[in-house]
Subunit: 355 residues, 2 copies
Amino acid sequence: MSERFCIALDAMGGDHAPDMVVAGADIARERCPNVDYLFVGDEERIRPLLARYPALAAVSTVRHTPDAIAGDAKPSVALRAGRTSSMRLAIDAVASGEAACVVSAGNTGALMAMAKFVLKTLPGIDRPAIASFFPTLRGESVMLDLGANLECDADNLVQFAVMGTVFSRTVLGLLEPTVGLLNVGSEEQKGHESIRQAASALRASALAKNFRGFVEGNDIAAGSVDVIVTDGFSGNIALKTAEGTAKLYAEFLKRTFKSSLLAKLGYLLAHGAFQKLRLRTDPRRYNGAMFLGLRGVCVKSHGGTDALGFANAIGVAGDLVVHGFNEKIRDELARLQAALEAAAPSPEATEAAAV
Amino acid sequence: MSERFCIALDAMGGDHAPDMVVAGADIARERCPNVDYLFVGDEERIRPLLARYPALAAVSTVRHTPDAIAGDAKPSVALRAGRTSSMRLAIDAVASGEAACVVSAGNTGALMAMAKFVLKTLPGIDRPAIASFFPTLRGESVMLDLGANLECDADNLVQFAVMGTVFSRTVLGLLEPTVGLLNVGSEEQKGHESIRQAASALRASALAKNFRGFVEGNDIAAGSVDVIVTDGFSGNIALKTAEGTAKLYAEFLKRTFKSSLLAKLGYLLAHGAFQKLRLRTDPRRYNGAMFLGLRGVCVKSHGGTDALGFANAIGVAGDLVVHGFNEKIRDELARLQAALEAAAPSPEATEAAAV
């Protein structure tokens, strides 16, 4: 898709909204010029911000609503009581075809519940999943689910494997992405029953060629596989543990460079190289979690991010639109329907896995 | 305990056994002189190694067995067929009172199954848990379970909280260790039912004062609490994700220092400071996972470790013996029996948590 399209933004979601939403959109605007923006939220707060960026204002529309979803609102409550919220109206714009995608830095659970309710899932997908990129020793990998579904059965995991594969092909351009199931050991008898069943199903499916079996937590950063499939509970623990550990080592590094005069001099010399490392590992670079499996593109930004991070989330959403991700996932799913059918855990497979 | 005691070593467990077991014991011997060693395994391989360390040989006994547990053996098979294995005979030495503790770098599942079968659990503890130290921004914290119990109910989690608290008091010397339950969000309604039930139980217990509710993956490295309680599946994922991420950043650091001439010069200057950082974050420093909740001290070393790492695992076991950990945990458990009883999820608490 190279024609002009519109991105709907929940202007009131996130710790620093609406300021960082507007400032982020302006950064994104410079990067992809053929996009219009629909800001949904409190007009009185958005207008003065937009006035600071005339070029952005020229391609933007504001849809006023006084309502916003609280960061700690329960998804079920948000769904029931949030019909006129900025988040909901931004999603509605995608459902109506007015916008090609939606980006929000608001409450993750509420966003997922609303997006699922309004946009519905793609055919063949029971539950959407949250996916994100991870830096690895070998480049980048994709992990899903990161928190949408705390408990997953074997069918869900197999569908996540299909979505992750298509995503990796479409967005990362990998022809034959490898897939691993996150587990506590690589031996066949390890882990929960649902994971063992999913493994049997994948081994019997059209994805078998690229399925590498079970992977462990350390395989995420090692880049052992391109797509890591897991339930939302484990995925969220892994995501946040990785973020926390990265922060710890960045802090250790800072303390080390400050620990002696020689180390400080050393830092002055290595400064340029470390600037590059900082850019490469900047968490804002990895901002933008994709909700996969919906009939519409929905990207969740980190709630605490700044304008640059939010711009990256917008960039991810734009990429998915430009690359026709959902069209491709639909095509691939149809093509892989045989895989999904072959992959549905048969009674024999289930029995074998349980031994 | 300041009198002489014996440490039983599974001489055949681990990727580099028996070499690193013997060499590790010699390093440990220099650190704590009043310990005797019982090496269990293939005498023909152990004797020539011991001959290289006369001071160690002087305080060591060798118990010959030709059998060893394979690294990929299923725990149930190891338990049935491994009665004369080096691992089993080393545990037996603790059960008979001949040794004060046992250290093995062998198959974790087999070691846990055998230790539980031979040593039994402490009164009031249904399932033992694997615990280990983690480096944090604020020092060190303890996390359990790291893989012994893939599924845990609320009672198990409450017992882990009690064991972690006692461990933190006894070994880390913290008077009032704070406790958090690992979850995917800090809001009360988040997570699996077992976690929510455990939270209600802990809030109603004698541990309430130091219970900080739910923590997330990033809180592990942040050191938000002193004791992180979780089921063995999530704990294992978190442990290995943290290890993998630390390795990734160490590699990024190495590449950065090699990326330009200035950076290389900078490294030469900062070298000393980085040596200290390396020592501080050396994974071998954190080697030695404690099996808590057993009537005997059992420490699991990382299977791939070297002599220095194995020596640290021996050091952890020795510490637990010297500090009378199991006696203290027994006393504390008796003292906290009221806590455990108050903490047993009542029907009302369960109902409230499920809302």
